[in-house]
Structures are given as structure tokens and as C-alpha cells.
Symmetry: C2
Subunit: 351 residues, 2 copies
């Protein structure tokens, strides 16, 4: 009965009766089969972004069996950064200075020119990598892009990753650096940003601030935030194997969630901020792509923020997979993302 | 050579070499095969919206061979509106008055209560339906929703549809009503909205205004706009058969584009506003869903507006297909869409 009513409810909109030949026999009230298809690369991307979009899926079906194997994976993933990132900094004119803040390792990233409006501001960066990848310099890539295109001083936090220390280590480190920063920089001159895990940590920082009563940043930019560690979100299905970077929840992503949560409930808002109370959040700009495995997470965070009365903006880029706007500094789409975030921040931060 | 470089460019980001077993052999620089999959219905929608999302694809593989067959289709599609819409108006407390403005048929839709801020404003509505469907009262559904949830007076234009008259008839009618309205209502008190074809017409109206020099509306809300009649956009592929309402470009949608264009170049900006110069556009709010066949069109319009310096906002709803937020007035998601548009309009219109 229910199924029949549901079928009619949509068919009625078009005023057409479903004939047996057009109805998909495999459709039920729980879902339906989607046939395989050929996915072309769009022609209207920049050449630089087209190259990233055209690449086959990155390796994802990786299941480290123990901490040793995780550490091997971490080392392998971090290796190319040692040559790529110095060259990128050189090209973009960004200086890097390793430091320690409140006992936590961090990198200060300074562009050749800081924009006049950003002279007294700090953009705090939490890197991505499923809470386990990209420790050390490898985690600074997005921070470098923001320093260069946002023309602001960036502090990128080298928080403890979960092959060394699971939750709450990463969040504790991010909070410690932020609170130390608050001693010299007013919250209204601090913006916080980060993609994927960095977006999740950005949101968890705000939840921690609401809980512990410290001043919230002036604005935040969680990019394609890993705001829910469970496999809840339509694009985990529609974009499975479509997203050529994150590719699938069922690879190392799920394993990394288990490693980080360390037995805790995935739905704890400090691990999955989408389940938190988002009222009172600072102005927020979210970024995603139409092929992003986390597109659903991104738009769900956006809707929940708007429902909570928060000044929240959404930008979604054609054909981009998860975090793909953080890869190539030469792609105009990359510059556009960070310039847009900087513009959003500028309109909402004190000078 | 090119393909090898591209493969490395993404693999390098993860620091992993592709092994023959993980590389998809069918991937080329032009695209790749995506395997079939089971698409579940998300659990976190409202029950009303879940019913719409769970329905199998609506009939779409329809190819009318001549005007007679188009007219038959139009009549069949419009029929349910004769019973559904009076009931909907009754339930939502919206009165409908047929009228003629500048020689064009239209409907005035008045809610029981007009919000204080909207007393002197008019929201002008252009309906959807691929330029050929939903003439007459059938086209007022979205207008009724906006009148009810936006608590404003709505004028819904019953423009000539393309089984009677192709381009530029529909646009001419919309322009004529708008310009007549300008004689009694200042542009800064007019907002224009519409979904799908209605979104395309909304954008084309602005392009016509820029060309002919009439005052532009204070704000516009093209929902999932049919801003490009060609099959250009990544979600025409990723969301083919995923979107259960519009379903596929290759059904009546393409045929309807041919009928409307009537031999003109699909890329003429008055037919496909995405190819137009969007500088100077009024503040714009765009709406889509993660399963929307037109998600790419929507985000491409948003990006181009932002690149053109326009105040533009984007809202994307979890799991919704094309225009699905215009179907069920009882779904909280429906109310949310129109309240959000009304809020955006309110912040940008004169009282």
C-alpha cells in the first residue's frame, strides 16, 4: 500500500500513469538500482583542473591491519610533500616557520604581501587526512594556498594524528593552539579553516568553545567537512567511485574513523559535529564539488546552520571531487575558492 | 603521455603509486566507466519528502512526434492540477484571481496574511515545464507555495508555451508583464522567481533588461534554472536516472529544447542565460538538491554570478531531485526553501 501511494505521489505531479515498461521493477521504498554508465570529463574546466578531474580514482581500498601498517601508509602518503611543498611555497612566495604553540607543533605561513585588511588578523588552519594522514609539513598544503590567495598570515596546526594518539588528541591540540592565540589576538580577528578532517575539527572547536565558554572565532570555513563519521549521506552512494580522490567510504576512510574514535560513539558531536547544536556558530562558508563524496555532508551542515539562524554560505564547484580544490595552485578554481573564503572572512572580521 | 601524466598528478597527491589492480583500465583522459549500484533512500528526510525521494523515476523517455502529440502530452500533464491545486490553495489559504496584464494571461495569488514587510512588494513568478508544459492554472503550484510560505502577493505569468508559440514568445510575455508592473511598483519592490524553465526565464528577463535598459528587479530566485539548453554539465551524467523527476536530458527535455529554440542556436544567451554576461545581475538566490539533474547548471550559474561580482547565494538540499521542493506543501523542506528565499528577498528589497 505504502509503495503504491509513493509511486503515485510523484507520477501524479507529471500527470502521467506509470506503465510497466517505464517503471523500474527493482525500485522499492528503500531504494533502487542505478545502472552503470560512462562519465565523461567536462570540457568547461580549466586545463589544470581538467587534468585532476580526468584522473582515475586514487587508491582507496586500503585496510591497514595494525598501527605499524597505518604508520607505513602515513609515511608513504607524506613523502611527496617533502619535495612538492617547498617548490609550491617558493612559487607562491610563502615563507614557512616551524614553531610550538601551547606545546603543540605548528607552522607559521607568511605570504610575501599581507593584504591591508589582514594586517592584524590570523587565519588558523587545521589540515585534512582522515585524522591519521598528513602530519608534519605534509599538512600545510591548504595553509600555503590560503596564505598566498587570501594574503594573510596562516598558522597551520600540526595536531597529533590517530596512529599516535586517537580522539581527543587532535581536537585538544587544535583547541590548545586556538586558546593560546586568543591571549594575543582577539577572537574577532581570528578565522579558522580546514578541509575534510580539518573542517570537522573546525566545527568541533566551535562546539568545544560553546561548551567551555571561550570566545568563538569571527568566521570559519569548513571545506567539505567530515562532519559525520557514520556512512550517512546520499552522496556516499551516488558519488561512490565517482569521486576520484576520496572515492569510497568503505576504504581506509571507515578504518580511519574507527582508529580515531577509539571505541567512542561515532555520533558524539565532538567526533561528528553534524549531530551537535549549531546555534550560535560564527559566520560559516562551506566549499564542495558536484562529485564530492562529502557533498551531502557539506549541504547538510549548511542547511542545519541556516536552520539554526547562522550566517552561512555555500559554494559548490562543477565536477570537483573531495578536497580537489586544494591540490593545484595553478588551477584558477583553486584561487577562486580561497579568494572567496578570504572575501567572506573579510566582511565578517574586525580589522 | 598525457594520460600517464594525468594519472600521476592525482596519485602523487596521496603519495601512492597506482598498481595495475587499482587502476581502472577503462579510465581515459575523456572519462571512465562507473559501475551500477544500489541507491538507498536516506533516513534523515521528512516522511513527506522521503515518499517523493523513494518514488521510482517519473516517465521521461517520451518523444512527441508532432505538435498534436505535444498538445496531448501537455493536456495529460496539466490534468491533475485541476483537482490538486484548488485543494492546495484551500489548505494553504491562498486566493487565486485570473487576470490579464499587458495582454498576457496571469494569476494573482494572495495569501490570507501578507507579511508586514511585504505589504508593498510583488513577487513575480515564471513557472517551469520545459517551456511547453503547465500552461494555465497548472503552472501556479510554485506560486501558491511562495504566496503561502513567503507571505507575499504573487503574480504568476501564464506565458505562451512552445506547442503554441516558440521562442521568443514565453520571454516576451514575461518581459511584458514585468514592464507593465514597473508602471505601478518600483523595481526595488519586485522580486522574480521560478524553477527550471522559470529560472531560465528569470535570468533571461534580467539579460533583456540589461539589453533594453529597463530597471532590474531588486532580487531574483532562479531555482535549479534551465540556464543551458545544451547537454553541458556533469550532473547530466552523474545524476542521469538518479534524479527521479527530471530523470534524463535525453527524454522529452531535449525534444522540448528543440521545440522552444525553433532553429535558434541553443547557446544564444536569451535561450541559455549561462552564456550571457551576468555582470550587474540583482542579488540572486539559487536552489537545488544533491540528486538534481540540473545541480551542475545551478552551481555553474552561482559560480559565474560570484565571478561577476554579484551577491549570490546557493542552497542545496539533501537527496532532492530537480524541482522536488515544489511538490509537497506538507514537507518541511518545501517550507524551508520558500522561507529562505523570502528571507533573502526581504534583506534586499525596499519596503
Amino acid at each position: 500500500m505504502i509503495t503504491t501511494r509513493r509511486i503515485l505521489s510523484t507520477a501524479a505531479v507529471l500527470g502521467l500513469m506509470l506503465s510497466p515498461s517505464t517503471a523500474q521493477p527493482s525500485a522499492t521504498e528503500n531504494g533502487r538500482e542505478i545502472p552503470g554508465y560512462f562519465l565523461p570529463v567536462p570540457d568547461d574546466l580549466s586545463p589544470q583542473m581538467r587534468a585532476l578531474v580526468a584522473a582515475p580514482p586514487a587508491p582507496w581500498d586500503i585496510h591497514p591491519k595494525n598501527i605499524e601498517e597505518w604508520k607505513e601508509l602515513v609515511a608513504r602518503v607524506a613523502a611527496p610533500a617533502r619535495t612538492a611543498l617547498p617548490a609550491m611555497r617558493e612559487k607562491l612566495g610563502v615563507a614557512m616557520e616551524p614553531t610550538t604553540i601551547a606545546g603543540v607543533k605548528a607552522f607559521i605561513l607568511t605570504p610575501r604581501t599581507i593584504a591591508p585588511e589582514n594586517q592584524n588578523r590570523v587565519f588558523l588552519h587545521f589540515h585534512g587526512g582522515a585524522y591519521v594522514l598528513q602530519p608534519g609539513e605534509a599538512g600545510t598544503r591548504e595553509g600555503i594556498l590560503m596564505a598566498a590567495f587570501g594574503r594573510a598570515k596562516v598558522i597551520s596546526v600540526d595536531y597529533r594524528t590517530s596512529s599516535d594518539a586517537p580522539y581527543p588528541a587532535a581536537l585538544d591540540d587544535c583547541v590548545a593552539v586556538y586558546r593560546e592565540l586568543l591571549k594575543t589576538v582577539p577572537a574577532q580577528r581570528i578565522g579558522v579553516f580546514g578541509t575534510s578532517t580539518g573542517g570537522g575539527l573546525t566545527m568541533a572547536l566551535v562546539l568545544r568553545g560553546k561548551q567551555d565558554g571561550f570566545a568563538l572565532p569571527a568566521a570559519i570555513a569548513p571545506g567539505s567537512p567530515w562532519a559525520d563519521l557514520t556512512k550517512t549521506g546520499d552522496t556516499f552512494y551516488t558519488h561512490n567511485l565517482v569521486d576520484n580522490f576520496q572515492v569510497s567510504y568503505d576504504g581506509y576512510l571507515k578504518d580511519a574513523a574507527i582508529l580515531y574514535a577509539n571505541g567512542r560513539d561515532f555520533k558524539d558531536p565532538m567526533l561528528s559535529p553534524l549531530y551537535g547544536d549549531l546555534r550560535g556558530f560564527p559566520p560559516t562558508i562551506l566549499t564542495s564539488g558536484t562529485r564530492d563524496l562529502f557533498l551531502s555532508l557539506t549541504v547538510k551542515v549548511h542547511r542545519k546552520l541556516r536552520q539554526s539562524g547562522v550566517d552561512a554560505a555555500l559554494q559548490v564547484f562543477e565536477a570537483l571531487s573531495h578536497a580537489q580544490y586544494t591540490f593545484n595552485p595553478d588551477a584558477p578554481e583553486t584561487r577562486e575558492v580561497f579568494e572567496e573564503i578570504a572575501r567572506f572572512f573579510d566582511a565578517r572580521m574586525q580589522r
